[in-house]
Amino acid sequence: MTEVAEKRKVPAEEEPSSFRLIITLGVIGFFSGVILVSSFLYTRPIIEQHRAEALRAAIYEVLPGTSRFETLELRDGQLVKVEATEETQAANEAAPQIYAGYNDSNELTGFAISSEEAGYQDLIVGIFGYDPQKEQVVGFKVLESKETPGLGDKIMKDEDFQANFHSLAVDPQIVVVPNGEKTQDNQVEAITGATISSKAVAGLVEKGLAEWRPLIEEYLKTKS
């Protein structure tokens, strides 16, 4: 306080006017706004690009053999093909989309479906590949998760766990079994110590299938 009293311009006894207080905060607020807007405008396209790249990479990863993909959007209960430019992807975030992958000889490799489920910490958002001809899940990748590092985050890193989703039968339903007890095609081996995260991933796949499988079947029927 003695330091403040020492100031020449503002003696301690003299209260600054309310006007001065408002002006000070107003000026600080104004400059803060300018800094925020400019850094937002500068980083926004980079962040969007990261997100789009991560999604694109994930689609190719969960659908092995895919060389190009089409974006399908849900409109009035039907899947409609849309031109996937980056603008439409950003603009149509509200409308759910899935992605149909094709290989070099233009055959369908499957559908990439993103879905989410509550994990141990927060929502796990993942994308998985579904092959309607084999009726199998052919790949899975986590897009967003806050699972415990070292335990729950093995759903992203553990190769043995990932291998569960390379050819996972979806009928009659996906079942989570303890590690080392996988006997059938529709079973997923849980990660030891991360059962909740493992079950959440299986639930995520089930949820995505329940939502999109009927639509995919309809889409394939109308197409052929």
Binding site: K9, T24, I28, L36, T43, I46, I47, H50, K146, G150
Partner: protein, 224 residues
């Protein structure tokens, strides 16, 4: 203000060094415990949080010190918070653009730098009362000390809990990770042991200086 310091360089160096060891914000002052406990589960996260805090603290101190004569004391806390929040938001955008993976892992804790009492504390107790050079030295010293403390905890927790350092495995397959160390309790354990170590070191140093001073004192006592 404008105390003619006897040796200006010496004072600046002292303000810088005090934050690293003698007045370390974590090990001595025990400030800013929220990020210290929450995001130190890996060395990379610790480092990112340390650097983000450094950016915010240095720039906030710079501005607060520059404008210290213009900000009326009645609205100083509000002004500090606006300045700090601006830089926190900028750092949030920057991390999302430059290192999206780390940004994802740190999550809400970046936004929570705003309420890190270390930062507001330095503005109130130092930057608002000292010229720019000293304020910068103080901010740099404190944030280096903070980052150093975070890194200490992060390195210990990652090695014990994950058997790795900066993501590279250190031990062979035979190492059984000490999982509790990367879970929240591990943060408390590690911090507790490090505080114990620091207190012991300080106590020993104090005892030593007293010893060297104390020989004469003891001689004087013998006369009584």
């Amino acid at each position: 203000m404008n105390h003619p310091a006897p040796s200006n360089n010496g004072r600046t160096a002292e303000e810088f060094l005090k934050g690293i060891w003698r007045e370390n914000p974590v090990f001595v002052a025990v400030l800013g415990m929220c990020p210290v406990l929450a995001v130190t589960n890996t060395a990379v996260n610790s480092l990112a949080m340390g650097l983000a805090t450094m950016f915010v603290l240095v720039f906030s101190s710079l501005l607060v010190s520059l404008f210290r004569k213009l900000i009326p004391k009645q609205v100083r806390i509000t002004a500090f918070i606006i300045i700090i929040a601006t830089f926190v938001t900028v750092v949030d955008f920057m991390l999302a653009a430059i290192v999206p993976q780390v940004h994802k892992e740190l999550g809400a804790f970046i936004a929570l730098i705003v309420v890190n009492c270390l930062i507001l504390g330095r503005q109130e107790s130092f930057a608002s009362k000292n010229p720019v050079g000293l304020a910068l030295a103080d901010a740099l010293g404190m944030s280096v000390g903070f980052a150093f403390a975070l890194l200490c905890i992060g390195v210990i927790r990652e090695i014990l809990g994950n058997g790795a350092l900066f993501g590279f495995p250190l031990f062979g397959e035979g190492f059984e990770p000490w999982v509790v160390m990367i879970l929240p309790p591990g943060g408390f354990f590690t911090l507790g042991f490090l505080l114990l170590l620091f207190n012991w070191l300080q106590k020993r140093r104090r005892a030593r200086t007293e010893e060297s001073l104390g020989t004469e004192y003891e001689r004087a006592r013998e006369y009584l």
